[in-house]
Symmetry: C6
Subunit: 323 residues, 6 copies
Amino acid sequence: MRPGRFDRQISIDKPDLKGRESIFKVHLKPIKISSKLDIHKLAEQTPGFAGADIANVCNEAALIAARKGKESVEMDDFQDAVDRVIGGLEKKNKIISPEEKRIIAYHEAGHAICGWFLEHAYPLLKVTIVPRGVAALGYAQYTPKEQYLYNTDQLFDQICMTLGGRASEELNFKKISTGAQNDLQQITRIAYSMVTVYGMNEKVGNVSFYDPAQENSFTKPYSEETSKLIDEEVRKLIDKAYEHTKELLRQKSKEVEKLAEALLDKEVLFQSDVEALIGKRPYEEKRALDVSDHSEHKNVPSENGTPSGISVIPPAATEDVKQ
Amino acid sequence: MRPGRFDRQISIDKPDLKGRESIFKVHLKPIKISSKLDIHKLAEQTPGFAGADIANVCNEAALIAARKGKESVEMDDFQDAVDRVIGGLEKKNKIISPEEKRIIAYHEAGHAICGWFLEHAYPLLKVTIVPRGVAALGYAQYTPKEQYLYNTDQLFDQICMTLGGRASEELNFKKISTGAQNDLQQITRIAYSMVTVYGMNEKVGNVSFYDPAQENSFTKPYSEETSKLIDEEVRKLIDKAYEHTKELLRQKSKEVEKLAEALLDKEVLFQSDVEALIGKRPYEEKRALDVSDHSEHKNVPSENGTPSGISVIPPAATEDVKQ
Amino acid sequence: MRPGRFDRQISIDKPDLKGRESIFKVHLKPIKISSKLDIHKLAEQTPGFAGADIANVCNEAALIAARKGKESVEMDDFQDAVDRVIGGLEKKNKIISPEEKRIIAYHEAGHAICGWFLEHAYPLLKVTIVPRGVAALGYAQYTPKEQYLYNTDQLFDQICMTLGGRASEELNFKKISTGAQNDLQQITRIAYSMVTVYGMNEKVGNVSFYDPAQENSFTKPYSEETSKLIDEEVRKLIDKAYEHTKELLRQKSKEVEKLAEALLDKEVLFQSDVEALIGKRPYEEKRALDVSDHSEHKNVPSENGTPSGISVIPPAATEDVKQ
Amino acid sequence: MRPGRFDRQISIDKPDLKGRESIFKVHLKPIKISSKLDIHKLAEQTPGFAGADIANVCNEAALIAARKGKESVEMDDFQDAVDRVIGGLEKKNKIISPEEKRIIAYHEAGHAICGWFLEHAYPLLKVTIVPRGVAALGYAQYTPKEQYLYNTDQLFDQICMTLGGRASEELNFKKISTGAQNDLQQITRIAYSMVTVYGMNEKVGNVSFYDPAQENSFTKPYSEETSKLIDEEVRKLIDKAYEHTKELLRQKSKEVEKLAEALLDKEVLFQSDVEALIGKRPYEEKRALDVSDHSEHKNVPSENGTPSGISVIPPAATEDVKQ
Amino acid sequence: MRPGRFDRQISIDKPDLKGRESIFKVHLKPIKISSKLDIHKLAEQTPGFAGADIANVCNEAALIAARKGKESVEMDDFQDAVDRVIGGLEKKNKIISPEEKRIIAYHEAGHAICGWFLEHAYPLLKVTIVPRGVAALGYAQYTPKEQYLYNTDQLFDQICMTLGGRASEELNFKKISTGAQNDLQQITRIAYSMVTVYGMNEKVGNVSFYDPAQENSFTKPYSEETSKLIDEEVRKLIDKAYEHTKELLRQKSKEVEKLAEALLDKEVLFQSDVEALIGKRPYEEKRALDVSDHSEHKNVPSENGTPSGISVIPPAATEDVKQ
Amino acid sequence: MRPGRFDRQISIDKPDLKGRESIFKVHLKPIKISSKLDIHKLAEQTPGFAGADIANVCNEAALIAARKGKESVEMDDFQDAVDRVIGGLEKKNKIISPEEKRIIAYHEAGHAICGWFLEHAYPLLKVTIVPRGVAALGYAQYTPKEQYLYNTDQLFDQICMTLGGRASEELNFKKISTGAQNDLQQITRIAYSMVTVYGMNEKVGNVSFYDPAQENSFTKPYSEETSKLIDEEVRKLIDKAYEHTKELLRQKSKEVEKLAEALLDKEVLFQSDVEALIGKRPYEEKRALDVSDHSEHKNVPSENGTPSGISVIPPAATEDVKQ
């Protein structure tokens, strides 16, 4: 978790909310669309999309509607198209055993419930157990807020939400699986960043070992003693977050069960479905801010190795239970 | 055992069960096959085979049958052909001493018995002490299940099954040999992954140091202290698994002996032979799932250096007692 | 924080104060400028600018004035132009939430107040919460002094001023944010330099591990024990500076509040505005010295990776609250 | 002694015993050979020889016989030729002092006696103090067995046999020399392999850090603590083997003396000579197995840097007392 | 401070004292020189100069005299020329504040006084606070002795003389500045060399880790424990030297003040000026030996990264108070 | 002192004693030589010389004799020529101070006396304080013995002889100088080899970490703990040798003085001169063996970086007091 790890981010200026709305309008012109189509909502649901991605969505949506024999392209065609562009075509032939389906459902329900009841989590957009692409067996997608500064509480909630999947597995099956690997990778990175890059740990102090030029450094810039302290503080932080997450999920065990069972039944749940099942989110729903510049953030650097299709949503989305 | 070690896997989309069945049908067209030939079973026995491998199998099978003067190509010709494609031609001229043959037989019997009586092991396909290729003096092959998530119990059983060979040597000869080297390599990798990649160790905690982008990293991402803890926890895990394996093999010492002696007699035993010798497996035999996508799994990453011919079966098969 | 890190600085001889004044005069010839324009002040406000940068400023200023329909180019047009050249065009479409605006304002006020009441800080030029370029959400700019030698008191004050942002966040919100990352990076570098390069720590002693030729060194030139001592001494130094900074800001809490609220109101405050709000700076304002050779200083080496647009002001300016 | 050190072995399929016999027959056709020539024996004495090496031997033998004015090429000509191909031409002009000759003789006698009285050592072929090639001042050559598995007892005896030279020097001269350097190198490798690759140490446990793909790894895959444990266990193992070796040589001190003095007298002793001096080997002489595939073994990987001419005999031969 | 650091020195055979005198004579032929010109003295003041450098000096001197309207080129023109060739043209436009001027003057006076009263220091040539080139704010220049062997006392005095600048700052201003960075770099190198290369430390012992071939070594050749011991012994040595230096400067505080004030007044002081101020040096002035081969010395290796213009004087000159 | 350091030796088969004699005869044919010329002795004095070197010697000798106006080339001309080829032309213009001359004389006398009274040292050929080449201020040359095995006593004496220079400086001047750097480098290498390569240390045990293939290894093959033990044992060994050396030189203080004063007087002393001064060497003078193959020895590997001209004598010669 060398600081040097974060500096290879290439910032490409993606269009913002307004920009995307304009681009949608351009690409929708030749398409016969339903009069109910909410272009603003489409733009909202495609944070991080480049112009080419939006063109792709429009074409896909037209094809989907055509295949269904529709006269005009409707909102759900576009949502299908967005999903395809993000995650690739659904792999219907992937045979997932019923036991695994249950694990995935409770894992995702754990994420969704954490996101719902943690103040600083992003509002849920949808949660699904339909596998997508090469790696994802299920995922929860959130409406990200345009945010530039993160305080310790917000980062802590983000860690908890991300640990929600594993915590739910442990509480509901008394067993943990390999499915949380990607989640743990994310929180490991966030926790190490808090301690070594953002100076958010009292014992390690107000230092930042982040160094964009240290690409070729071969040694840790600090001593083994400091390295040990950093490991300890990270472990404490993650342990605390995991206990907090399990406590929350214990209190909300009925909600988790409701959501998981609904997922096993319907496979996809949208925000409104979740609301219908477990009631309104206890925090005021803020306007869904645009995160088109999100990839520029170096505060919470995204994973270099993450496939680009996935990078449009993290850290707002916890795409997990990788196969 | 750096996390970075796992990331060089190249995922080539191999055909799935149905796909292989279709490919077999194509390549079988020009061949006169026995009316009893079960193409579905052939497809089942060739997980991970590419189209070219299947074409190869069909050609080999036709040649084998021709050499035997058969009028049509039969199931056993195909099974021979599959074996040749996997392991290369049998090295009949390899002179193995009777003492070594006994060690190999008990080693393989240890694997097979562990796999038979451990709930989470894969169902046995065949076990043999006929040397194959450059490195294998014998091996046990399993029908892999299509599985995306592994819990700690399943990984523990996999470690035990893999330790079955060495444990059997120790119990039956009071001596251990170099033959378990490949087995130990596999469990070392699995155990380190559990502790450092899947967050399955309580003391090390919910962290994952797996990092697909860390190909060029030069230092451990954690302190010497953490490194020491990881080593300790891995050692405890493996010690526990080894004790468990030896206990199981002590209880099943008669079954091990039966199997080993039968192997010394017949050299190859199929699932039905084993069943005839020691009775039905105590666990419900689940449908043999297709693992054509198996090589994409990053949960239990396969060895980079493994020859491709072998990679079609691990981790489901414990190919060991290398020369 | 290897000493070797500092040696890649390329010293390009930038024009000095007089030089810049002359260059301005050349480029201003074809432009109709206001009779009140103070060219000397312009030269003063553009330390570190190359000839091409000055030409750029003049062109920009002319365009800005033209867009406003002015007859002649005035001082504020030039100041706008300077800002654009330094930080890129203002990103008006960047939506910053009111909560974040508050944090930024108090963070910048913290810097400004520290700079105002610390004897060895540079005199303030302006402070702003208007985001600029890719990374800056706000910044404080200082009139740097031409200085070749820094004593421990001066470097200590510089660290305190740079910690002023985080300290102000902690005191005013009881929470700290990721916005101080760049500040912490700077003080980490300065503190490590004091201890390992300038021999300013009693326990580590009169040594300097700075080595311009050590570009390719792979190991620390000292033992783990010394490395541990260095880490400890750096931590003590930074802890002491942070306590000092918080103490100062506690005493000046009213001034911080005044400045922050004024910033939220007006977004930009110049030196005279600050003086009007909180009174004259308690230290004699020394002549604004020219720092055109500043980039040659190896005493306080600038960050290699810093974007060039920003490098014209540090270490005199604390450009922070990065997004 | 990194595990990664063993993986650069290139396995070239050398002809086996039968293969070599056939190749000899081909190359012997144009040569007038003695009717007593035992081609099978020749094949036995040339394990690991490639076709080209055998052709070389036949040519050399013909030249040697010609130089001696013989009418037909006899067995001893072939044995000379084999020696030349293995070790290069004898360096008659190498002036070795009588003191050194004595050391070499007792060193080699130590190896030979250990090999003779240790159950798991290979049967002796010949022992000599005639220097050969660039590095060897003397050596003992064994008839290797074709063996694929090695247990701990066998590896322990191999270590003892290899330590026999130094032990004999210590016991007979109360001094040790640099001549054992190559022996120590070999046992260092074997002992570290037992502990880190073959899982044969109880404290280090059932792990194998052997990794064929780790060619470019830069760090030990385990902690300093484990590294220390490995060193300790290796040291204990070697100390134990050295004590065992000295005890054996103390008991057989008369046999060592007999052999050493005979070597000083005759320079070369064959198996039958040794038998005549000290009686039959107390273990049943097993058939001399073929080791043509020996170079493929990865269990006891041969030294990468070993000159190819020497690699045909280790680990069966202890070629030592290097100059 | 790896031993490997010293081996990149390229020894170019520079002309010796006689050689330089001859070269001067050649280049002076076309120039009309003052009859009082002391060519031998010129040669003495240009140790380490290549032929091209001497040619350069002659041309410069001629130009300087011409600009002054002189009829013949005089000694001071040559001295100016030598200075220009060594340090580049004087940077008159560099604005150094009076406070900094004082620090520089006392720093240089510290060096000069130490050199004057330490037995093994080189005799002073001149001391100046006129900034030169990119890095030097002032420097003391010495007449080096041709010396091939250095004992511990001599190296100790050299360290003290080099620490004289910082010690004088501390004693006179109760504050230390960044100006000693280059001095500390030099003594760090000398002290580490004494301990690790010249075997001059009792605890580390009679070892030398200097290795000209270790250019590509990646690890310290000794253990962390030894590394720690080396650091400790170096620190003790430097601490002792610093105390010694401060004690000397305390005793000679009046002389330091006299010299510093004279420097602030006249900016440059020659040996005779110093003598006039504080009396004769208490050690017999030995003949100024030639150090033309000095760059070949590997005993006290010069800094690789040092600009060549500067390398003609160290270690005899302490060119410091770098900006 | 990594084992890997020794493996880059390239063995070029240099002519042996007889070979050199033959080559001399060839090159002497066209030269008119003195009838007293002892060609065998010439061959003896040129161990390690290639054919080209011998040709060079003959040409040089002819030129030297010609310059002296001799009619035939005599033995002393050849000896001068040999010296020139070995060390380059004498640097008469190198000005060495009388103080340094004394140090050099006592340093070399220390070597010579140690070599004279240590049983296992090589017989002295000559000792000189005439500087030669770039680095040598003086040296002692020995007639090397052709030796293939070294026991611990012999290596210990070699270390003592090499420490004789420094010990003599300490005893005679109560001060040590940088002149022993090359000596210390040599004994550091020998001592580390004894402990880590030749298994000659009881605590480190019968291991050899020498590995000819480890050229690219990046880590020590052993733990920090072992590394520490190795350092300690090496230090003890060197400390013991140094005490032994000082004790010997204390006993022979008169002989050292005699030799040193004679050297100051005559500059060069041959074996017979030394004998005349201090009596016959107390050990039987063995025949001067040929070391033409010496460069092939890997037991005591020569320094890679040593200039070739010097490599013809070490380790038999202690060429030291480098400038």
